[in-house]
Structures are given as C-alpha cells and as structure tokens.
C-alpha cells in the first residue's frame, strides 16, 4: 500500500484516526496536514463516508455521524477519557529520569505502577525530580509610557503594549513567542528575542501590541522553546484554543503559559 499522499507526506495519521485514538499532538499534526492537502482531505472524507455507511446505512450517511465518529468528537471535546489519557502519567515521566540508567528507569516505572501512587510525589521523595518549568509575569505599558503589572481582572486598552518577564528552572529557553487569539478569533503571533540576563529569569526583549484586537476576552499563549517555533504549526494549534498543557505537548516545547486578557475597547485604525 502506498503510504504517502500526493504531496509526498505520510497518510499514517489520516488512517490512524479511524483505527485508534490520537493524542493531542497527533491530532494537531493531522489538522495542520489536512488544512493544506486536498488528497488527504478527500481520503478522510471517503473513510468517513465508508464508516458511516457501514454503521448507519447509506440514507443517513450524508447527514449523520456514525457512533464511532460521535465517540471521536466526544474525545476531541475531552468529554471522554481515551486510552492515551489513561497512560499519560506514565508517558510524561520521561523528563524525570535524568541521571538514571535506562534499566533503573524502567524498574522505577514498574515500581510506581505497582505502588499506584502519584508518580511525581514518589519521585520527589527519592530526589529524582528535575523540575522543568517556565512562568511569565505580564506588565502593561500604557500609551503614556508608564509601566504597571498586569492585574488579572483589569481591562486593557488596545492602545497598550504587553511586556513579559520570564522565570524558569531546569530549562533554558532560547526562543519565546506570544500568540493572541482575540474575541473575534483573529490570531496574531509575535516572535520575541531570546531572554537575556540571569540564569533563572530575565525580561523578554520586545513588547506585544494589542492594536487591532477586537474588544472582549482574548487568549494569550506565551511559549518558551529551545528551538525556533514554527509559526504555521502554532497558528493551526491555537485555532482550537487548547489549554496550556495540550499546546505544550503538541508543539513539543518547553513550557506554555495561557492567560486571559480583557480588552476593553478597540482603537480606531
């Protein structure tokens, strides 16, 4: 069977969608591919139609989803626990085994499974945790140039700018990006410079302008990475307004911080 599509890319995820649960990263990768590949979107349509005809018959197949499709969408909405969710605590431990040999790491994983305790707690007791985290403080630069800390409930004006300061441990981000999805769904992305300063915290060069954003609640994602962040992949990933953990895993970056910005009024352009 030819495993690549007309664009020379793998059809693996298109087929996998109908065979098993996809994790968040795989689903994002699939969406990014389908948004640009007519050959695979057509294959997906045919597989979906075949599944529907097999399940609910040809008369209803054009308008109604099949039971398995209903289940898939429910999982996408995070209303169902998938097989991937059930084992995610085990898969997420890979960063915590720094300094241990592979054999000891496997034994520790089995021991944790048997003990059935939250793995993070156990690893902390054993001193084996490498804390990897990055957090951000937001500051607002007013139209008059005055700087103030951003308060969660405060309303922002679109004439203002957002400035970031990052703190981190166990990681060294070299790239920081900010993506804002405003109330109308419009996306803007700013790639900021590498943080400069102390080993555990620094001000991020540059600032993010809010001009042009629709009034209402906007979602701001601050992404720290060890490599350049693919803007197209980021744009596709945040279109569905994922939570921070899902975005971090799907982009395979160091850390993601998600905030809600209340934009009170729009400036005329």
């Amino acid at each position: 069977m030819n495993e690549t599509c007309a664009n020379g890319q793998s059809r693996r995820l298109v087929d996998a969608r109908f065979l098993r649960s996809l994790d968040a990263g795989e689903k994002n990768e699939l969406e990014v591919h389908l948004a640009s590949c007519g050959s695979c979107t057509e294959r997906y349509r045919r597989l979906q139609l075949a599944e529907r005809v097999a399940s609910i018959g040809p008369e209803r197949a054009f308008e109604e989803p099949s039971p398995l499709e209903i289940e898939r969408i429910a999982a996408d909405l995070q209303l169902l626990e998938t097989a991937t969710d059930r084992w995610s605590w085990l898969f997420n431990m890979k960063g915590a085994f720094t300094g241990l040999s592979a054999a000891v790491a496997i034994a520790a994983a089995i021991a944790l499974f048997v003990i059935a305790r939250p793995p993070q707690e156990t690893l902390t007791e054993r001193g084996g945790v490498e804390q990897r985290a990055a957090t951000f403080s937001l500051f607002v630069i007013g139209a008059d140039g005055a700087i103030r800390p951003y308060a969660e409930d405060a309303a922002l004006k679109s004439s203002e700018l957002i400035k970031l300061r990052a703190s981190w441990s166990g990681v060294s981000p070299t790239h920081v990006a900010v993506a804002i999805v405003d109330a109308s769904g419009a996306v803007r992305i700013a790639q900021l410079g590498a943080p400069k300063g102390a080993a555990t915290g620094a001000t991020i060069p540059g600032a993010i302008a809010l001009a042009g954003s629709s009034a209402g609640d906007a979602l701001a994602y601050v992404i720290a990475s060890e490599s350049a962040i693919d803007e197209n992949m980021l744009r596709a990933a945040i279109a569905v307004k994922p939570n921070a953990d899902v975005l971090r895993d799907s982009l395979k970056v160091l850390a993601v911080d998600r905030r809600v910005l209340h934009i009170a009024e729009t400036a005329t352009e």
Binding site: E31, E42, R45, A50, V53, P58, F62, P65, L79
Partner: protein
C-alpha cells in the same frame, strides 16, 4: 427537550459537570450535524444569502466540535435560560459560528474544504430561519451505492463473533464495556476483535480502489479556500 424534563441535569450542565455535558452532546449531536450539513439561509447587509452546508470529511467533525465547544463554554451554559427549548438555542450557536467564520479573515471551520469553495448565494426572500434541505447530487448518490456494496462484501466475510462485535460497536454504538457484557466476552476480547476489524475494513476499502482511484475529485484544499475568499470578498461588503 432533555432539560425541561430533567432539572437536575440542567443544574449539572450549568455547573459544567462533564457527565452532563456528555449526555447533552450525545442527545443533540445528530441535530447539529444535520443542521450543518443541510445549510441555512441568513440575512447579510439586507441581502438574503444561503449557505449550502458542509460536505463531509474532517470539516464537518471540526465544525461539530467547534459548535459544542462554544455551547459548553461557561458563558453560553449560563446564558441559556432553562425554560425555552435547548435545541433552537444550540442551533443558533451553530449558525452564528458558521456566519462569523464566513466573515473572518482567519477562518477556522473552512480550513478543511475538499476542493469546492464555500458557496454563498443571494436568494429571493426566504424565511430567515429556514433550514434548507440540501439535495444530493447524482454523483453522491452513486458513490453511496458503491460504498454500500463494498461494505456488504466486507460484512459477508466476517465470522459470527466479528459480526456481533461489528454490530455492537459500529452499528449500535455500544461502548466496549457494554458490548462485552451483551456478547458475553471480556472487554479485552472486544477491543482486540474491533481493532483487527477496523484494520481489515481499511484494508478492504483500500484494495477495492475506493480510497485511491474512485472518482478523481477533491482538488487542492488551499485552492478551495482561496476560491472561497474570492467569492466572499467579491459579493460581500465586510463590515
């Protein structure tokens, strides 16, 4: 109508209880799918317009997901008054999601078009709430007939247990646990049988040629989106 008959469910729904959201989703998902597939009429800047509906594929799944994601946001849950029927409220969310996306410079729902552009037609005066029933083209009817024959050929080759699992999971939509209970099997056996069957079904459809050689259609999704934007920008005044 589930909320009118079950106030306890409504309370849990308003609180964002996941089981309540799941129950609501399962009750209304087919209605939303039919609505999005059939399309609808709407008014834009005084002009009557008609959206022809989604045509299947990933775009309809993404659209259904987006509608329920919006409907299950806290603001939307609390804005529902609990007295009027929920279905029209939900379909209004679906309608607004589509109309807003049609006007957006960065569409979300129409990223996955299968070649054909989004067609917005100005129509003679129509009832603004009318949900137009989308007619099937002869090609679409022929395609479903072909697929039906392929499916029948696949099912004819299944052994008795596989057929039981097929009916329980594919047709009745039972969970693996429910199917296991009904069939007197372990959940693990149901899962294994289903997994093999899904792979065999995919292989069957691939070997039949349906997935690759049946009807050269589809086209380039990016061209489809570009064409959609041209249709929209030329016929609308974006406010």
């Amino acid at each position: 109508m589930i909320f009118l008959e079950n106030r306890e469910l409504l309370d849990r729904f308003r609180r964002g209880d996941k089981q309540a959201l799941l129950e609501t989703y399962r009750f209304y998902v087919r209605d939303v799918s039919r609505f999005l597939t059939r399309g609808f009429s709407f008014d834009s800047d005084g002009k009557g317009c008609s959206f022809r509906g989604f045509r299947g594929g990933y775009e309809i799944e993404a659209a259904i997901q987006e509608v329920f994601r919006r409907a299950f946001e806290e603001r939307a849950r609390l804005a529902y008054n609990g007295i009027d029927p929920y279905r029209p409220y939900l379909l209004r969310i679906a309608r607004n999601a589509v109309i807003n996306d049609l006007k957006s410079r960065h569409p979300i729902l129409f990223r996955f078009r299968v070649g054909r552009p989004v067609i917005i037609e100005t129509t003679p005066e129509m009832d603004i709430d009318e949900n137009v029933s989308a007619e099937r083209t002869p090609e679409e009817l022929l395609e479903t007939r072909e697929v039906s024959e392929l499916v029948a050929a696949f099912k004819a080759k299944l052994d008795a247990r596989s057929l039981d699992v097929f009916r329980a999971r594919f047709e009745e939509g039972l969970s693996a646990e429910e199917a296991a209970k009904q069939l007197g099997l372990t959940r693990s056996k149901v899962r294994t049988s289903e997994s093999k069957m899904r792979a065999a079904f995919l292989e069957h459809m691939q070997r039949s040629g349906y997935l690759t050689t049946y009807k050269q259609g589809g086209g380039d999704a990016t061209r489809g989106i570009a064409a959609a934007m041209i249709v929209l920008l030329s016929s609308w005044s974006l406010s």
